[in-house]
Symmetry: C2
Subunit: 227 residues, 2 copies
DNA sequence: CCTTTGAATTGAACGCGTTCAAATACGAAG
DNA sequence: CTTCGTATTTGAACGCGTTCAATTCAAAGG
């Protein structure tokens, strides 16, 4: 026994797992998610149908595996985006664009994630309990983007901001996935406009006369905490 | 031939259609949506499996039929909510609460709508093309709630507001559906807090020094228009 | 009455995600 | 090398949403 991968035991098993995923992604991309059968996926990888289920809990789980893989690969791009500038807007743009680039080739595929994603009780939902770790990791990037940026945030707002920015990003991703405008130009425009708004809001939020509004906003945020 | 209903020809057919829906809703409520089989639904209504598909395009379509039915019934409550006060916050509360009351008994059922709902290409999505009419009708209620209320909105913002409020409401409904806190208390708190925020935002949005922020917000709204 | 035509109804069959009992490979222990 | 326990692999079978060719029903026209 040598391997030390997430699930697998032997290195060979790990290899099979990857072969299945790679083949599946190719099929999904070429003929679409719904149109690809788990039997196809298995056949493509040269294994029996059941084998696919030995390595992945469900068809959706393949999509999730893809998602996690991009998350790994994003590290580099994110680090670079943050190191290259102190301008918060540019940092956020960098993170957001990096994600879109990764997803670009598989945009259609992600609609599949939507369907299970909206229900937080689903094990594969980005809002659910089982994905907490991935989620917190993602949120941490926004904390890093804020740290040492050109925008200073009010103390009371600070602890909430990374999570808020993450949710904002999820919203953009959602829009991007369902965006039918050519090249998702629309999402591009919205990203521009909302980033402007978000950063300006942050900047003015510390001004004295914004106190009451900020207090109300904080009340909203607190309303989200615990049951 | 007497009947003059949406789809049906004879009155008997219309009756069958309703019998199927009523039975289905009962089963969904008693044992859950996923746990109820289309064969169960048909059997409950005393017809063959295929008959259910003669009257409803899909299992999800049954949920949509329920949704549309509540929409009909909401008219009264909405009218009353708007007539009873000029206070915008109270009006909105009235509309929102009325909706929650209607849904209350079938909360679990609506998770089913979520799954197809997120994809605007799905014929049953509240954001899709095929549901445009229902959507516009709902949005119109918010236009009515704003008219003659105690909050005056800036001219440039006015045309967007009904749609924005509708989306806000959809967001609350989403949260309510997935809210696991007892009695959906959490959604209640969030509704309180966000309504406060929304109304205050509207009130201060006309103030002179809010100009730049409002302009940026409008830019966001325009970014959503056309491809 | 009989015929025609389209609505309404049937239930078997299909496709696909998923499960599972059984078979096999394979490294470790003796 | 044999034995054994676990990892892996298999493919048939299951359940359920959905489709569909075939059949029945009912009203209108002759």
């Amino acid at each position: 026994m040598t391997g030390t991968s997430e699930r697998g035991q032997t290195a060979k098993a790990e290899e099979t797992r990857n072969r299945i995923l790679d083949g599946a992604l190719r099929l999904f991309r070429e003929r679409g998610f719904e149109e690809t059968t788990m039997r196809d996926v298995a056949a493509e990888a040269g294994v029996a149908t059941g084998a696919a289920y030995y390595y992945y809990r469900s068809k959706q789980d393949l999509v999730m595996a893809f998602y996690l893989r991009t998350d790994e690969q994003a590290r580099e791009a994110f680090t670079e985006a943050i190191r290259s500038t102190k301008d918060l807007k540019k940092r956020l743009r960098g993170i957001i664009d990096a994600k879109f680039e990764q997803f670009a080739e598989h945009r259609g595929l992600l609609t599949a994630l939507l369907k299970t994603g909206v229900d937080p009780r689903d094990p594969l939902s980005p809002f659910g309990e089982e994905t907490r770790q991935v989620r917190e990791d993602s949120i941490a990037w926004y904390a890093r983007a804020l740290e040492g940026s050109d925008v200073s945030v009010p103390k009371d707002l600070a602890p909430h901001l990374p999570r808020l920015l993450w949710m904002y990003h999820m919203g953009l991703i959602y829009h991007w996935i369902v965006d039918t405008s050519p090249g998702q130009r629309r999402t591009g425009r919205i990203t521009d406009a909302t980033l402007d708004l978000v950063v300006q809001l942050l900047k003015v939020s510390s001004l004295p006369f914004m106190g009451p509004l900020r207090k109300r906003a904080l009340k909203v945020l607190r309303a989200f905490e615990d049951d």
